[in-house]
Amino acid sequence: MATRGSLHHNLGQSLADLATVIRPKLTVVDATRILLRNGPQGGNVDDVRRFDTLIASADPVAADAYATTLFELEPGDIEATVAAFEMGLGEMDLARIKVVTA
């Protein structure tokens, strides 16, 4: 059993590794409100932006990659996304992801 501390070393790779143990069938990202700064505990209401958006995908990497754009970041900025992509767990290239808006 890995401890909380050991899982947090090299966090991006550890998160990607988790997806090989528990393989998600459907990944849902709740982006009703997103916290832009000072997370994850506390922070300020001013740091919250309201998107009222739900992202769902059968590809966990694609879901994360798209969610990254809400923060005005690139998928390549997120270690866990890059690590998972390199392990072949999903797609992170936004050009190759089809976004269907419902």
């Binding site: 501390g5 947090h8 070393h9 000072n38 997370g39 994850p40 505990q41 506390g42 922070g43 300020n44």
Partner: protein, 523 residues
């Protein structure tokens, strides 16, 4: 045949009252817990507020009227009217002492009469000591003893037993068994088990004190109530003049002294006079009298019974001891320099008033959702045992929680609203660069900053280029504390991923309850 509707005996009515109040007490006790809401509706502090011993000693120590404790006056007024019914009919510890009697009583235990006076001396000592600056009443108050023992030891033990049992049935039991056991466990968790499994400082000590009080029954029935309980002694001073009372045998009664034999409080003397001060109205003597001479009623002018023969010398000595013993307090080390590890709950009064008001009931520790508050041992001196302190490595003070101030019966911890709570500084953190990973090992770690709950984070970063343990140069973030923003909640110390001591530590420096804490650096 209609007479079959049997009349309950007087002592049966008393037992029913005892059970009802014990049930009410246990209901309040279980309700004194977080249940998902920021506000508590019921808490056992209601019972502490009708406790005149704690009311008088807390007010004497604080030299002030504590409005929260005024309901205790009702208890005194009712005692002047009806006698010491509180001990016999209401007190949940008294009920447990009665209930455990058959387990502990030595056969042929006497009705020790001389011991009765000791509780008065104890009361005089506690009253004088509280007034002169040494508040100790919470150590001996029956409610405090009971609630501490139950909170710190008995309730967690029950929880552990239930969890172990139902984990066993869940993991190893057949499916048909789980159809029964799982709903039972769910109901228990919902109703009587604590919200979360917690740890408590001085759990074993508190349990031993409670067991010792019950175990004193070895020396005779209601030994604690008869010889030690200072609340009983205070009520006795009032019930001595009660308007309603039991009147017993006259010189004309047969002199069988059955009443004297059954009396658990040794309240009846050889001439069958019933001492209103000692009598707790258990009413066992009523059916014992072959001539049915004993009755309860208007007692003006009736024989008051033999009062406990207090030695004037001992009474004065107890008062003097209470007045004089506080004189040694200013010569202790902590009078000059308080223990910086001693962090009090948010809203706590300044130390001296805090200890004067704190009745050591343990309710704040019971409701603390971070499991951060624990019994102090000797860190605050002899008079500080069982008072609450924050131990960040065990738990942290939740930023939005105000429960401890809601349950404190005396206002030792003030009731804060959320804005006040956010602004209350209970201590301040510092970073130990000899242990902190980004400083010592060049390993990136931002855990403390992530958890810091203040809107403008009290932990910020400086970017630095350091050599790690392999000699490589790495760029990383090194945390530092912004003193003006830190409120000392302790979540950083609690969550620091290092094993053993944390690399970020909270001390009481800068706490807002002491006037010296108004500047960040204490000067």
């Amino acid at each position: 045949m209609r007479r079959k509707v049997s009349k309950l005996s007087p002592s049966r009515w008393r037992q029913i009252s005892q059970l009802v109040f014990l049930g009410f007490f246990l209901f309040l006790f279980v309700k004194t817990d977080y249940s998902g809401s920021d506000e508590l509706t019921w808490a056992v502090n209601i019972l502490f507020r009708i406790d005149p011993l704690l009311a008088v000693t807390a007010m004497a120590a604080g030299k002030t009227i504590i409005a929260l404790m005024l309901p205790a006056a009702i208890t005194l007024a009712l005692t002047v009217l009806f006698g010491r019914f509180f001990c016999g009919w209401i007190c949940p510890l008294g009920t447990l002492i009665d209930g455990s009697r058959r387990l502990v009583e030595r056969s042929g235990a006497g009705r020790e009469r001389d011991g009765r006076r000791f509780k008065y001396y104890l009361l005089f000592f506690l009253l004088a000591a509280s007034l002169f600056g040494l508040p100790l009443a919470g150590y001996l108050d029956p409610f405090s003893i009971l609630v501490r023992g139950l909170t710190f030891a008995v309730h967690p033990a029950l929880d552990h037993a239930a969890t172990s049992f139902f984990t066993l049935t869940y993991q190893h039991g057949p499916a048909w068994l789980n159809i029964v056991t799982e709903p039972v466990y769910a109901v228990l968790k919902e109703s009587v088990l604590p919200f979360a499994a917690k740890v408590y400082g001085l759990a074993v000590v508190s349990l031993l004190v409670l067991i010792a009080v019950l175990g004193l029954g070895f020396f005779g029935r209601r030994f604690f109530c008869r010889a030690l309980c200072p609340l009983g002694a205070l009520l006795a001073l009032f019930s001595r003049y009660s308007l309603f009372r039991l009147t017993g045998g006259s010189p004309e009664c047969a002199g069988c002294r059955q009443c004297r034999t059954v009396c658990r409080m040794a309240a009846i003397d050889n001439e069958r006079n019933i001492a209103a001060a000692e009598c707790i109205l258990c009413l066992d003597c009523l059916p014992s009298c072959p001539k049915s001479l004993i009755h309860y009623g208007w007692g003006r002018g009736a024989n008051r019974g033999e009062a406990v023969d207090l030695s004037r010398r001992a009474a004065i000595a107890s008062l003097a001891a209470g007045m004089l013993s506080p004189l040694v307090l200013p010569s202790r080390l902590l009078a000059r320099h308080a223990d910086p590890q001693l962090i009090r709950p948010p809203g706590a009064c300044a130390e001296e008033e805090f200890l004067g008001r704190c009745v050591r009931c343990g309710e704040c520790m019971k409701v603390c959702i971070g499991n951060a508050l624990h019994s102090t041992w000797l860190e605050a001196g002899l008079e500080g045992i069982f008072s609450p302190r924050l131990i960040s490595r065990i738990g942290y003070c939740e930023f939005n929680c105000t429960l401890c101030g809601q349950v404190c019966p005396t206002g030792a911890i003030r009731r804060l609203n959320r804005q006040e709570k956010h602004a209350t500084i209970i201590g301040r953190a510092y970073i130990d660069r000899n242990r902190c990973l980004p400083f010592t090992d060049g390993v990136p770690c931002i855990v403390c900053e992530e958890h810091c709950p203040t809107p403008d984070k009290a932990i910020k970063f400086r970017e630095a280029e350091v050599a790690n343990s392999r000699g490589e140069t790495v760029r990383l973030l090194q945390p530092y504390i912004v003193g003006e923003l830190c409120i000392g909640c302790g979540i950083c110390e609690n969550k620091c991923p290092l094993s053993g001591e944390a690399a970020v530590v909270v001390t009481a420096a800068g706490q807002s309850r002491e006037s010296s804490g108004t500047t960040i650096y204490g000067y």
